[in-house]
């Protein structure tokens, strides 16, 4: 008779910075490679398409115990997710993620930034976090915390010029990431300060 294959357990979502992964515990069968298939169901499928499920081809008969859902979870609606194991022709029951997943709950980390004083120029470079991200950069002259300036960067290019600094003065910068699609922002990065090049004129 067909051997019984247990459904995958410990199914959970890891979602950080709008990248979403489904993970589960392996189903262990001695001396055999168990494979898995993942399907998703959005609110549309539940409400308008007879509760149908859609397979994710990249995670069909995969030996991995993780599946990248980012491309498919591209709407701010509740999704259901399920995974089953397969060994040869034997399939396990579906293991379904408890509850729903909505991308609005993704965790957002502060951006990584590098602040550079290039002579009198205050420059910042931000690590790319993906197409969904914008950045709010705050900068000020040390000691003038009440006169903070702001720049919103919709795309991450290379170095961005923030300001022209007064000679020898120290300037500070911090930034947060913002995702318009879910209308949420990360916390701020730690503040970084740099000093402008001092006065280079020689006292003769």
């Amino acid at each position: 008779a067909d051997a019984f294959l247990a459904a995958p357990q410990n199914i959970s979502i890891l979602s950080t910075n709008m990248k979403h992964f489904l993970t589960w515990s392996p189903v262990v069968v001695q001396g055999a490679t168990v494979r898995y298939s993942v399907e998703f169901q959005g609110e549309y499928e539940r409400e308008y398409a007879n509760e149908s499920w859609i397979p994710i081809s990249e995670c069909s008969l995969t030996a991995a115990t993780m599946c990248n859902l980012t491309e498919d979870i591209s709407a701010s609606v509740p999704y259901r997710l399920r995974v089953r194991a397969q060994l040869g022709a034997t399939r396990s029951p579906w293991g379904t993620l408890t509850g729903f997943f909505n991308r609005v709950t993704t965790s957002l980390t502060p951006p990584l930034l590098k602040v550079v004083a290039d002579g009198h120029h205050l420059l910042v470079e931000l690590a790319d976090m993906g197409p969904a991200f914008q950045f709010r950069v705050l900068y000020w002259k040390k000691g003038q915390e009440s006169r903070v300036k702001q720049k919103v960067l919709r795309e991450v290019s290379s170095m961005v010029h923030l300001d022209t600094m007064e000679e020898g003065a120290e300037y500070c910068v911090r930034a947060q990431a913002h995702v318009e699609a879910i209308n949420r922002s990360s916390s701020f990065s730690p503040t970084q300060c740099v000093r402008a090049q001092g006065d280079t004129s020689l006292w003769l």
Partner: protein, 139 residues
């Protein structure tokens, strides 16, 4: 968001439009373009059109291509969240439909029902650019 819908559609546009043999007809633009809708009516027309796609179009667009089906799912689910935002306008009662716009929407339904359902659905999906352009211009 509309930008995400546009990106999803761009990935399957050629595939979907290749399934629409009747190039001489339009669902959304015949006889008059959406761009003639009065600004006061746009919220209502947009809400009607989103509902039209959700209720009538997407379910008849299933293909043999898994990638296309997944993108259609993304678009359909995005329509639900965009419509939900529009719904908030309706609740605040500034989403009225004038007579002219109601006529316009009836014309779109007539265009749709004038074709067999699969052709009509594929044609409507293939015209998504027209709807997205109009929605972005109306913002």
């Amino acid at each position: 968001s509309v930008a995400e819908i546009r990106a999803g559609f761009a990935a399957i546009k050629a595939n979907i439009q290749s399934r629409d043999p009747i190039r001489t007809l339009s669902v959304l633009s015949h006889p008059r373009s959406l761009h003639k809708v009065k600004s006061s009516d746009r919220c209502c027309v947009a809400h009607h059109l989103l509902t039209f796609y959700v209720d009538k179009v997407f379910k008849h667009c299933k293909t043999e291509d898994s990638f296309v089906n997944r993108k259609i799912s993304s678009i359909a689910n995005s329509f639900l969240s965009v419509r939900r935002k529009l719904g908030q306008c309706r609740e605040q009662n500034n989403c009225a439909c004038g007579e002219e716009s109601t006529e316009k929407f009836k014309q779109i339904l007539a265009n749709y029902e004038g074709l067999n359902v699969t052709s009509a659905a594929m044609k409507s999906l293939g015209e998504l650019d027209i709807l997205l352009d109009w929605m972005e211009k109306s913002r």
